[in-house]
């Protein structure tokens, strides 16, 4: 068990001192060992990368997305995703990707406006174009976009548009930002509450522990979905989008913390009896030193795993609430909000691209699970 032969660990440096050979793992810190073990999990790495890409792209949604989420291209409402190409109809290659032009025509039978692809005209995609003005993170103004079309009478909708002609690609980006940030803030809040109350319970024990544990059991005994629904439904309709956003996050965290508090308490109680903690007491360490030097470090890796695992629950909870029309509302877009507008059968059949946010949710949840698996394994780097 103590041997140093993890798959990556056998790379001995080859320095032989007396009869002992120094292996790289011998002097590796706990975090290094965890990283070495983690990176053996290809799926976890994949999950982590997907989430990192999602986070970065959505963090800069204003810049990456060619449109703002509420902007409409009326003449391309309910438009299909526009594929981009490098090779045109005449088989000649263009270094700059392009989309084919769209022309709107009224269908003589159904009398509806329909757009058709005009393969004779190409709209080249430019990078770092000046287009619509936006306010980055609500702070400073800019009109620089990662990509777009130079001609502002043309339009570019990689993932199509919704009923009102709003760009799905940009909306998914903004929604990703909302949903991931709710997950992050929610998990953060839950963690804070959990670690404080669980820590108090686990450290003091006795009566305090009893009261906190009873409270937790009470909260946990309430079925979650009805509770969420009730709380969310109680939010005043006239609240601003930001207020709703913050309260929904708080509601999700308020319920999520109980699980974490229990884990924190259980781990603290177990750690208190660990032999190395007893040894630290005998060494004369103060309570503060025991907690910070001995208990917290061995506890953080487990907590990080727990956080990763609870992330998708909060995200799915938000998605579910918004999908039911009780969570976020326009003009804020989240995954749930986007799916809410894809709810009816007609749009599912006629505009399947409106379900793309659902695909993103699934990918994110799976990525979180892969990541969590790898982290769980890496949290205990001493076993093979």
């Amino acid at each position: 068990m103590s041997t140093t032969t993890t798959a990556t660990g056998t790379l001995s440096v080859g320095v032989a001192t007396r009869e002992t050979k120094v292996k790289r793992t011998d002097t590796a810190t706990h975090w290094q060992l965890m990283w070495w073990k983690f990176r053996n999990h290809k799926m976890a790495l994949l999950g982590g990368s997907i989430l990192a890409i999602m986070a970065i792209l959505s963090l800069f949604a204003e810049f990456v997305g060619p449109y703002t989420p509420q902007e409409r291209t009326a003449k391309y409402a309910q438009g299909r995703p526009m594929g981009f190409h490098f090779i045109d109809a005449e088989n000649s290659f263009h270094l700059r990707p392009f989309v084919y032009a769209r022309v709107a025509k009224r269908n003589k039978v159904t009398l509806r406006m329909e757009t058709t692809v005009d393969k004779t005209e190409m709209w080249p995609i430019s990078f770092f174009v000046r287009a619509d003005k936006y306010k980055m993170w609500g702070l400073f103004e800019s009109d620089l976009h990662l990509f777009g079309l130079e001609n502002n009478r043309h339009f570019l909708h990689l993932l199509g548009t919704d009923q009102l002609g709003r760009d799905m690609f940009s909306r998914v980006l903004y929604a990703t930002r909302t949903s991931l940030s709710i997950g992050a803030i929610g998990v953060g809040l839950a963690f804070l509450l959990g670690i404080t109350l669980g820590g108090i319970a686990g450290y003091f024990g006795g009566m305090v522990d009893g009261v906190i544990m009873r409270l937790i059991e009470f909260i946990r005994s309430i079925p979650t979905l009805p509770l969420w629904l009730a709380l969310a439904a109680a939010l005043p309709r006239e609240w601003t989008a930001l207020q709703v956003y913050l309260s929904i996050t708080a509601i999700l965290a308020l319920i999520g913390w109980t699980h974490l508090a229990r884990r924190v308490r259980g781990k603290l109680l177990a750690l208190r009896e660990e032999e190395f903690v007893l040894a630290a007491r005998l060494s004369g360490c103060s309570h503060a030193r025991i907690v910070t030097r001995h208990m917290l470090p061995s506890f953080m890796s487990y907590m990080i795993v727990d956080l990763t695992i609870s992330f998708p629950y909060i995200i799915m909870a938000e998605t579910a609430l918004s999908f039911l029309g009780l969570g976020m509302r326009e003009p804020i877009v989240s995954w749930g909000v986007l799916l809410y507008s894809a709810q009816n059968i007609r749009s599912m059949v006629l505009m399947p691209w409106l379900l793309i946010p659902g695909l993103v949710v699934i990918i994110a949840v799976i990525a979180f699970n892969f990541l969590g698996d790898g982290m769980r394994d890496a949290a205990d780097p001493y076993t093979k």
Binding site: M1, S2, T4, T17, R18, T20, V22, K23, T25, D26, T27, A28, T29, H30, L33, M207, D209, G210, V211, M213, R214, E274, E275, F276, L278, A279, A280, R281, L282, S283, G284, C285, S286, R289, R293, H294, P297, S298, Y382
Partner: protein, 335 residues
Amino acid sequence: MEPLIKIRDLDVTFPIGKSGFFGKPTAYLQAVSGISLDIHKRETLGLVGESGSGKTTLGRAILHLEKPTRGKVELRLDDEYVDLEDLNTKELRKIWRHMQMVFQDPYASLNPRMTVREIIAEPLVVNRKGNKNDILEKVEKVAEMCGLQRDQLGRYPHAFSGGQRQRIAIARALALMPQFIVSDEPVSALDVSIQAQILNLFKELQNKLGLTYLFIAHDLATVAHVCDRVAVMYLGQIVELTETEKIFYSPKHPYTEALMSAIPDIDPDRKMNPVLSSGERPNPANPPSGCRFHTRCRYVEPHCKEVQPELSEIVEGHFVACHRAESLTLQGAIE
């Protein structure tokens, strides 16, 4: 001679089985029950008993790592006895400079996130034993004494085998130069081939530093080589206490005799008594009435079930808690 440590009427009771709104305990388990014991300077006192008999709890209670529910422990310091009961947390930390412990599981007793150097240095650092260089020098000295090489000190515990980890744990316990060390089954987690090395290290260190040990083990065989006296524990009580030789030549308590029969090949010609099976071990939360051993004793009499025998000195220096101690002739391991 005045003992180094005096233990009087020590009880340690654990609440078990919580219920009710505030988790009031529904039952209590007396892990250590009315133990009185003297530990003399420079001796090695063995403490033997089956799993669950309360050895670890007694060891920890002596150091006040576990607060006793009743009774007291006194340590002789500069010709005066200090009652550990009177000390607050800060004063206890100071007393622990004189009393230390080596734990049973060398895989659990070292913080995996600290290098060996940091582990051994910690007691010196928190007790402010000199500046950084003094401390590093002391660490190297004590590590060398415990058979660790200087170039191993920068590594983390996971780089070491069980035996070497136990050396690290011993070095940490010795860093403050204590007088008294509780070693809780320090070799039971190690390979048999390594055990002797560690036991020798204990002996060497004792000779060099004049240490006093409480040496916990669950079988008599380990104790035979290292201990001057042996205390045999059963369900939280001491049932026999005397010099190691007497325990092996002329045990006076039926439980000691039974333990002896469990030692493999100490004398192959000897007729083996049936080994105690752990299946019939009584629940420590609900010990038998009278003599706690009566449910498993071969020599039980009706009287034993009602009256609890006191630990009394039947021969000079030989304490036994058995009603029939003086009339029985029991079989030792060595005739």
